[in-house]
């Protein structure tokens, strides 16, 4: 059972306090966007065996959403960070890259 650090209240929360929210950094497509772009936004998800960027909410806690870089195979956590960002912070990217040279996340490095 996972433990993730909530960057808002500082608690190392176990999974039963958390709610998983799927892939992070989705870009909302809407009115005016093509069917392809909308399909991408609504349905197309990363399904990696490896480092994944994902959304979690400290639901039984401070109620805040945060983002997490986690290896789906080894469960190694490279860090959690606030949801109010469009890409992972540099230190987390560096930590991932150190272990997985050449790692990339969609269009973001």
């Amino acid at each position: 059972m996972l433990i993730l650090h909530c960057p808002y209240c500082g608690v190392y929360a176990e999974e039963t306090e958390l709610h998983a929210g799927g892939e992070a950094h989705l870009k909302r497509a809407t009115i005016g966007d093509s069917d392809e772009a909308f399909e991408e936004y609504l349905f197309m998800r990363e399904n990696k065996k490896g480092v994944h960027l994902e959304r979690w909410r400290h639901a039984n806690g401070c109620g805040k959403w945060f983002l997490c870089a986690r290896d789906t195979a080894t469960l190694e956590v490279y860090g959690t960070y606030p949801a109010q960002t469009t890409e992972p912070p540099a230190d987390i990217v560096a930590a991932i890259t150190a272990k997985h040279p050449g790692w990339s996340w969609k269009e973001k490095a």
């Binding site: 808002y8 209240c9 929360a13 176990e14 039963t16 039984n60 401070c62």
Partner: protein
């Protein structure tokens, strides 16, 4: 109002650890920007307390102010004062972005006191309740078995726990059952 009744009407389960519903209590959810000078000023002017540290609370006279999240506090006060205090926040913070709302009736407040009160909570919540880790002045929002709850430790070593009114019966049952089951003797 004289016909106001709290969720469990002061129910009590006495024992080595006593579980007691605390009756009608005023509660205000206060959301805003803690960094904003106006916010802090209004808070201390109305409650006498400053913004508490993360996951802590401060007490000042009738008021207890608890940290709930980075933009939310809970003000605990006498039940009769809740409406007027919301009005006071509305007046003091007018023109800024904030939310003050009376939630006194939405919650139940339960006291857990006695020898192994911390172990009673540790039977139900995934929180490190050992004496040197969870100390007086701390607040924790978490899960009590299957429902959301928040509890905090008072200077006398007892705990107050807050949950939604609709599940007060369930929370009281959990706490009194766990208290009756006795001490673990581990923390």
């Amino acid at each position: 109002m004289s016909n106001a009744v709290s969720a469990l009407n002061g129910q009590e389960a006495k024992g080595d650890v006593t579980v007691r519903e605390l009756g009608l209590t005023g509660m205000i959810t206060l959301r805003g920007d803690f960094e904003d000078e106006n916010f802090g000023a209004a808070l201390s002017q109305i409650t006498g307390a400053g913004v508490p540290d993360v996951r802590h609370f401060v007490q000042a006279g009738d008021f207890t102010v608890l940290w709930m999240s980075p933009d939310e506090l809970l003000v605990i006060l006498p039940y009769e004062k809740a409406a007027e205090t919301v009005a006071a926040f509305d007046a003091a913070l007018k023109g800024t972005h904030f939310l003050a709302v009376n939630v006194s009736d939405a919650r139940a407040l339960i006291s857990i006191s006695g020898d192994f009160a911390n172990e009673v909570l540790a039977k139900l919540s995934p929180v490190d309740m050992s004496a040197d880790r969870f100390t007086a002045g701390m607040v924790r929002r978490t899960r009590l078995a299957q429902v959301a709850a928040a509890f905090w430790m008072l200077p006398d070593g007892s705990y107050n726990l807050m949950c939604f009114r609709s599940v007060a019966d369930y929370a009281f049952g959990l706490l009194s059952t766990s208290a009756k089951a006795g001490k673990v003797g581990a923390i």
